[in-house]
């Protein structure tokens, strides 16, 4: 299926140089081809679709760009169903490289930003892959350290987060939205697969340190930021902190932690897509408040379930202090999310409004069972 999707995608992209629309259609078609009836993946697919559609807001002539989210999605979906090392590495790279191009297509971009981004990503990829290989070669400790460092660089976990605020605020909002959403799944998936529940004390300490620093840096940094895109950057840093903290649990509660982490990632992605689209095309105030509440973690919205399951798994692993830090951070984030929601007043374009609307709908997941159990089944 994935092969077929790739073929469709290649064909469509090649032809889209002439007919822009064809690129969109090919992208959508290939995305639909890899559709799996697994709630978790369905939502990921939905996010990819929204990414793809919202690219239209950038208003570039070429249809080629529409292939990029589709490609990333294919890699992401594939990663969920594979476990051998080379495939994982390929997926990782395929899910990450298209973002370079996405950063480059942004309007009125200073090339510096793109260079910054690419520099970091390349370093991250190298460290990540190196770590992966070392772990497979049974150098567990250094391997996991390198893997975590690569992960931190890749997704933007403090103190290796330096690129995030710059890129998010200088790149086009839509590109940023893709970087903040679709690109995050594969690295965490691999990290969970490889490291989950098997870390020794030292790397666990390192991991927890990363998580705590990231949460605090993200939330504190967001407090005084004034641009919406910078706020979103810091919010991403904080969210990555929440997600990575789920890695610290003991093997017994790992499935719950995995579910929590991925629901949190979904919530984060949906929020980011919604907000970045809103920056580009405006959004209704009430809708943006709902997105904000989801990000803050107000029950029974999606963002709450993520934090809830993470906190549950942490408490179950006797990491009470980490759970407390997590909820305290979710409180600290309140002011800037509310400020963020206030930036928006009403939608300016129909497309943007539709995207934001879908994001709000997903955020309004008040019944977590399907996603939760699908996370568990994916984990097994």
């Amino acid at each position: 299926m994935e092969i077929l999707a790739l073929i469709v995608l290649t064909m469509g992209t090649a032809l889209s140089l002439r007919w822009k629309r064809l690129g969109v259609i090919a992208g959508i078609a290939s995305i639909l081809l890899v559709l799996r009836f697994e709630p978790l993946l369905l939502i990921v697919t939905l996010i990819a679709l929204m990414n793809l559609i919202s690219l239209d807001l950038i208003g570039r002539k070429y249809g080629t760009v529409f292939a990029l989210p589709a490609l990333m999605l294919i890699a992401t979906v594939h990663a969920f169903y594979t476990s051998d090392l080379p495939s994982l590495i390929v997926c990782f790279i395929v899910a990450s490289v298209p973002t370079y191009a996405l950063v480059l297509i942004s309007e009125d971009l200073r090339t510096k930003t793109a260079i910054k981004y690419v520099t970091f990503m390349v370093t991250a990829t190298i460290l990540f892959v190196l770590g992966l290989i070392l772990i497979y070669e049974n150098f567990k400790l250094i391997g996991s350290f390198l893997l975590l460092t690569g992960l931190a660089l890749e997704v933007g976990i403090a103190p290796l987060h330096e690129w995030v605020p710059d890129v998010f605020s200088e790149a086009d909002p839509i590109s940023a939205s893709i970087i903040a959403s679709l690109a995050k799944f594969v690295p965490f998936l691999i990290a969970f697969r490889v490291l989950g529940g098997e870390m020794d004390f030292l790397s666990l300490t390192f991991l927890i340190a990363l998580a705590v620093i990231s949460m605090f840096v993200g939330n504190i940094g967001g407090l005084t930021s004034n641009e919406p895109s910078r706020i979103l950057a810091y919010s991403t840093i904080a969210n990555m902190g929440y997600v990575i903290s789920a890695l610290a649990v003991n093997p017994l509660s790992l499935p719950v932690a995995f579910a929590g982490a991925f629901i949190q990632l979904l919530a984060n992605s949906v929020g980011k897509v919604g907000f970045f689209t809103a920056i580009k095309g405006g959004a209704n105030r009430l809708l943006s408040f709902i997105l904000s509440f989801s990000m803050i973690g107000v029950p029974p919205l999606l963002g709450f379930w993520g934090k809830f399951f993470i906190a549950t798994s942490l408490l179950k692993s006797n990491l009470t202090f980490l759970a407390i830090i997590l909820v305290v951070n979710s409180v600290m984030s309140v002011p800037y999310y509310v400020r963020l929601a206030r930036f928006f007043d009403r939608g300016r374009s129909a497309l943007a409004s539709a995207v934001v609307g879908v994001c709000v709908l997903i955020s309004l997941t008040i019944y977590p069972n399907p996603i939760y159990y699908s996370c568990l089944s994916v984990w097994r």
Binding site: K112, I115, K116, T119, F120, T123, L127, F139, L141, I142, F145, L146, T149, L153, P159, L160, E162, W163, P165, D166, L202, S203, F206, V217, I220, G221, G222, L223, T224, S225, M332
Partner: protein
């Protein structure tokens, strides 16, 4: 059912006035009809056999509205309803031009209903409802003229100051003073009631096993319990040092003062003490001795204080108010004698309450009429006034004679009874109570004579504004005339005590002071001034307690500000600074980022590698 009519009819019949008084002012009559119905019911109850009647209220806790018909409640009920009804008639005329008739009638009738509830209730919680109703209604009525714009409604000389004390009080302030003082007594009383419920599991005064209660908590506990319950009566009946509110309560309409000072409110305190003593039967319990001695002396001192303050007062109503205080002190003192002499003390005190109620209501109503006629709160009026207001004069003469204890008028017989039991008690307590009592009696008759003299005989000339009032004189005449049959009844009851030499001696002395009071009503002196300023007891209410309260409020305020600053200023600022620090990393320069990242990555690799290969 009969009980519901008794309590609800005044309140319900006042509602038309409340709703429609702005455009139909003659609706006040319906309120008086409500009072009349209550009066009829109380008379009906008077003829019923003694016993208990219950209405379910909180059956799951064993609390019910339980009403008692006995000697005390039967008489007290009729007394309350009768006086309220007569004052109601008087008010029809007195309050005709008022700007808040609805308010007046509602609370006047609520007042009566609450008092009746207190009178008949056997259950302490039910009684407390009436009790709180009394407090609320008195607050409402004392502050009735809330606008504070009429000099006639103030107490004290406007603008006068003594040191830091303002010596004049407006109605709204007086209302607050009343309810705040009463509140201080009500809550300990509430605690006492809860304690009784905890100990006895029952709140019916007549059913409580007092013996079990007292033995369970011992001497100290009993004292605590009794004092906390009696805090209610003390504040309500304005015993020392809670007397001030009663004086400034004169800001209310005179009808209110009349009601307040005769059969309701202040009498409720004394009445409750009588009722409790009636059923506790203190003569059976040694634990109660400290309490009863305390009440005896508190009553006597309050009474003495009231009497000498009345000597110095120049305002008609304040003079009468302090005389009420004096009488209430006597009631408390005599009731407390029941510890030594038994039930007879309660009966005597209760009879004195009835006599006092009629006489004092008459005097207040007369005072109200005088204020109405002279537009002056202070004592004034001479023979010319007497000629124009004969009925008022006669009523005053009769009621002062009856109240001060001049033989053979009403109070003389009661006071003879008191003399007799005080004599009996002197074996236990010495002669002090007796001496204080005689002093009080002498002073009492002196200031009543002063009141008579300054208003009708020897006062300054007053300008009269008579409007041909009918209802007002009628009602106080009826009231004062009830004292005469009462005198006969009491003569029959106490003639033996009344013919004792000592009683006659006291009677003669009282008559003498009465005559002196009439002949020479005024005497300017420093002491008189201090007495007129009520010995500056208001410093407690207006200066010391508020100062202490404000001091603590200020402390709380500083605490509040500190917390506010810390949480809403310091903490957010700290986070802001932190946030700026975090954002300072974002310089936008790639080389600097790379340096940071490479530094961190190398450090991590070194640490990891060292740990990996060390072992």
């Amino acid at each position: 059912m009969i009980w519901l009519i008794l309590f609800l009819s005044p309140v319900i019949f006042s509602l038309p006035t409340v709703i429609a008084w702005t455009y139909r002012r003659n609706l006040s009559i319906s309120s008086v009809v409500g009072l009349l119905i209550s009066l009829a019911v109380t008379i009906y109850l008077y003829r019923m056999p003694e016993g208990f009647y219950t209405i379910p209220w909180l059956p799951s806790l064993g609390i019910e509205f339980r009403f008692v018909l006995d000697y005390l409640s039967k008489n007290m009920g009729v007394l309350t309803a009768l006086i309220a009804f007569l004052i109601g008639i008087y008010s029809l005329e007195y309050m005709r031009e008022d700007y808040r008739i609805g308010w007046y009638w509602f609370f006047f009738n609520l007042f009566t209903a609450s008092m009746l509830l207190v009178v008949y209730s056997d259950n302490l919680l039910g009684l407390l409802i009436g009790w709180e109703g009394l407090g609320l209604a008195s607050w409402a009525l004392i502050g009735h003229w809330f606008r504070d714009d009429d000099e006639l409604s103030y107490v004290g000389v406007l603008g006068r100051k003594v040191g830091p004390l303002k010596m004049f009080w407006s109605p709204s302030f007086a209302g607050w003073r009343a309810i705040s003082t009463i509140r201080i007594g009500d809550m300990p009383m509430f605690l006492g009631i809860a304690l009784i419920f905890a100990l006895a599991g029952n709140l019916n005064v007549s059913q409580i096993d007092w013996n079990a209660v007292f033995t369970k908590i011992g001497l100290i506990g009993t004292t605590f319990l009794m004092i906390s319950i009696l805090m209610g009566p003390f504040t309500k009946s304005a015993q020392l040092p809670f007397s001030e509110w009663l004086m400034t309560a004169m800001t209310g309409p005179t009808t209110v003062s009349a009601l307040l000072h005769s059969a309701t409110m202040v009498a409720a305190g004394a009445y409750l003490f009588m009722r409790l003593s009636w059923y506790i039967q203190p003569w059976n319990y040694h634990e109660l001795e400290p309490v009863y001695v305390f009440v005896l002396f508190l009553g006597l001192f309050s009474s003495l204080y009231g009497a000498i303050v009345a000597l110095g007062c120049r305002e008609r109503k304040v003079l009468l108010a302090s005389s009420t205080l004096s009488s209430l002190g006597i009631m408390f003192a005599v009731t407390s004698l029941s510890y030594w002499v038994g039930k007879i003390a309660i009966v005597i005190a209760f009879i004195y309450l009835i006599v006092h109620a009629f006489a004092k209501a008459t005097l207040f109503l007369v005072a109200g009429h005088l204020i109405h006629a002279t537009h002056n709160r202070f004592c004034c009026g001479n023979l010319e006034l007497t000629k124009r207001m004969k009925l008022a004069f006669l009523a005053t003469v009769l009621s002062t004679l009856c109240l001060s204890g001049i033989p053979p008028f009403t109070a003389y017989w009661v006071k003879s009874g008191m003399d007799a039991i005080l004599h009996e008690v002197s074996h236990h307590l010495g002669q002090t109570p007796m001496i204080i009592f005689v002093l009080i009696a002498l002073t009492y008759s002196a200031f009543l004579a002063k009141f008579l003299s300054l208003n009708f005989l020897k006062g300054e000339r007053a300008k009269l504004h008579l409007h041909g009032e009918r209802l007002m004189p009628t009602s106080y005449t009826i009231m004062v005339l009830t004292l005469l049959p009462l005198a006969y009844v009491l003569y029959l009851k106490f003639f033996r005590e009344g013919l004792e030499t000592s009683s006659i001696l006291v009677g003669i002395l009282v008559t003498l002071t009465y005559v002196v009071g009439i002949v020479k009503p005024t005497h300017e002196s420093k002491i008189g001034q201090a007495l007129g300023d009520r010995l500056y007891l208001m410093a407690l209410n207006d200066l010391i307690v508020p100062k202490v309260g404000w001091f603590f409020a200020l402390l709380s305020y500083y605490f509040d500000r500190a917390v506010d600053l810390f949480t809403h200023s310091s903490i957010p600022e700290m986070f802001e600074e932190l946030s700026k620090a975090v954002r300072r990393i974002q310089s936008g320069v790639l080389t600097r980022y790379v340096r940071i990242v490479i530094g961190i990555v190398f450090a991590i690799i070194l640490i990891a590698g060292w740990f990996e290969w060390r072992f």
